[in-house]
Amino acid sequence: MMIDDEVEEIHIPHIRDEDDQDGDSDRELQVAFASGLLKPGLFRPITAPPPAINNEVGLLEKLEEISQSDLEWVERLDVTIKRNKSEVTEDDQTDVHNDFQREVSFYGQAQNSVISAMLRLHSSGINTKRPDDYFAEMAKKDDHMKKVGVKLLALKKRRETSEKNQNNFKLRKYGKQVQRAVTLERQQKKREVLSSIKKFKKGKITNTDFLDDSSKENRPQGKKLSQLQKLQKHKVNHKRNFRDKKYGFGGKKKGQKRNTNTSSNDVSGFKRKVHGNKKNVRPGKSKRTKLKSKR
């Protein structure tokens, strides 16, 4: 049975180890030849998937064989719990490739099983908690836990600094916005006043109320301005204010300490107690000579 052009497809049983898939295995061919599957000609093996085996009866028998039905639950401590559909995603599917969703679902399962197992243990009067004065070897050594602590601290610090920077950035943005609003408003006011002055000059308006209004309105108004004012108020330099009051602020400095007509006539600083009658009044020269001659 020779086939020249056509290639016959034939199934060669899959017996080799799954790991050496490269190259032909002589043994495989030998087995196939011995079983009468191979005949002279060109062949292409169909690599069929290994048959799915699911011997349910055998599995259950084995389970029966190894089960520890004579042992109490405390000896085994197993909990079977339905894993909650993730709370993060509202649909039933947790994405396996989304690390966060996956870990949250595992965590939930562990949490539920811990709660139920602890209830069961405590109700049967078994203490599970380690007393504070019980010291024993831990799974992770102290120096390892120190490393973990250092890493956690560094993480915390990094998070804090980034948060602070973000906050500062927001504040700066807000300040700039307020400033822009203030300048815009000022320009607007100025324009209005100027236009009304023009109108007044031309005689379109007779009253000059706009000047007072503008002086009133020039004060910062509105929510944003009041906040700015608050900021400005907050930074009052009391020392400066006091010194300004004491020594004066601005203006001409020359000749300020000279006497004038009003200042020389001002006797408000005179106090009788201080400047008035003096106790030991020395008599005048003539009186003193007369007294001497009388002696």
Binding site: P49, K82, R83, V96, R102, M118, N127, T128, V148
Partner: protein, 306 residues
């Protein structure tokens, strides 16, 4: 002479007995202080019922991650023993003999292949069953991202997904895991506290292992301790490291096949790109505008010019 000697011997014997008696008597009167510790019975005696001993070891040629996994498992499970690495070429049934020598009735045997793949055998030793897994996504307890900690020899709670109760093969695996990973109550090396939980979940056709510390019992606040790994079931055998196959996972892909498919997928990228280029060139027409030739029939200028 002879009489005398005998008499003398008698006397000597008497005196020896007297001496012995006199030596023994004071000891009997005083309680022996040195015996106090040996007299005390171990706390676990008579209470340790679930006698599981697990042999945890690897083959030669395991990756560093597999080696660390063994280290972590040994660290967390006080009921384990270990042995030297086994030669990969020797028969798998040798493992049974090693277990017998080591007096173990369960076995976790990690096999390293090609210097990168890690397989795990979990077996109930003399009579089976045994299961072969492909282990992936290994994360060690030593990694600093796991911030939890627990006692070295405390007993874990074993938490299973409800999918472990759905099919016979999963039920069998659950039973096997309970017996292998659970530390027996009153095991001499164990401690009587429960401060961590082993979690086995099924997702995406794999079994995911997690280990959490129990920070608060009532609220169930947990912190992960590690290690982490996934196990993809390949097959379940009825014997220990042998015997007929009870279950063969139809969705299992060997790591070789996975790598092959991945490579193939990537290789097609270049070919497809080239094909697309050729295709585009073929589709491009030579004409810039769709013109009708009959439009120029009555054009007098053209004829005059030519």
């Amino acid at each position: 002479m002879a009489r005398k000697r005998k008499a003398g011997e008698r006397n000597e014997q008497k005196s020896k007995l007297q001496k012995l008696n006199s030596e023994v008597k004071p000891e009997e009167q005083e309680p022996a202080v040195t015996n106090e510790l040996t007299d005390m019975e171990p706390l676990t005696k008579g209470r340790w019922k679930n006698k599981q001993k697990v042999l945890v070891f690897t083959s030669r040629g395991i990756t560093f991650k597999g080696r660390h996994l063994i280290k972590d498992l040994r660290n967390l499970m006080p009921h384990t023993k270990t042995d030297v690495k086994m030669d990969r070429k020797s028969d798998l049934l040798m493992v049974n003999e090693i277990c017998e020598l080591k007096n173990c009735n369960k076995c976790v045997y990690l096999v390293g292949k090609k210097g990168r793949d890690v397989y795990m055998w979990v077996s109930n030793v003399p009579h089976g069953p045994s299961a072969l897994f492909h282990v992936e996504y290994l994360n060690m307890m030593e990694e600093l991202k796991f911030t939890g900690n627990c006692l070295k020899a405390s007993r874990p709670i074993l938490s299973f997904d409800s999918k472990f109760d759905e099919t016979p093969h999963m039920k069998l695996l659950k039973e096997l895991f309970i017996q292998v990973f659970g530390t027996p109550n009153y095991h001499p090396k164990s401690q009587p506290f429960i401060d961590h939980v082993f979690t086995f979940s099924v997702m995406d056709g794999k079994i995911w292992f997690r280990n959490y510390q129990i920070v608060e019992e009532t609220g169930g606040e947990l912190v992960e301790i590690g290690p982490r790994f996934t196990m993809t079931l390949s097959r379940i055998l009825s014997g220990s490291f042998g015997g007929p196959v009870l279950y063969c996972n139809p969705d299992y892909q060997s790591p070789n096949l996975m790598r092959h498919l991945h490579k193939k997928k990537n290789s097609m990228k270049y070919v497809e790109h080239k094909a697309a280029k050729v295709d585009k060139r073929m589709r491009r027409s030579d004409k810039t505008f769709a013109t009708d030739e009959t439009d120029q029939v009555f054009d007098t200028n053209l004829t005059a010019g030519s």
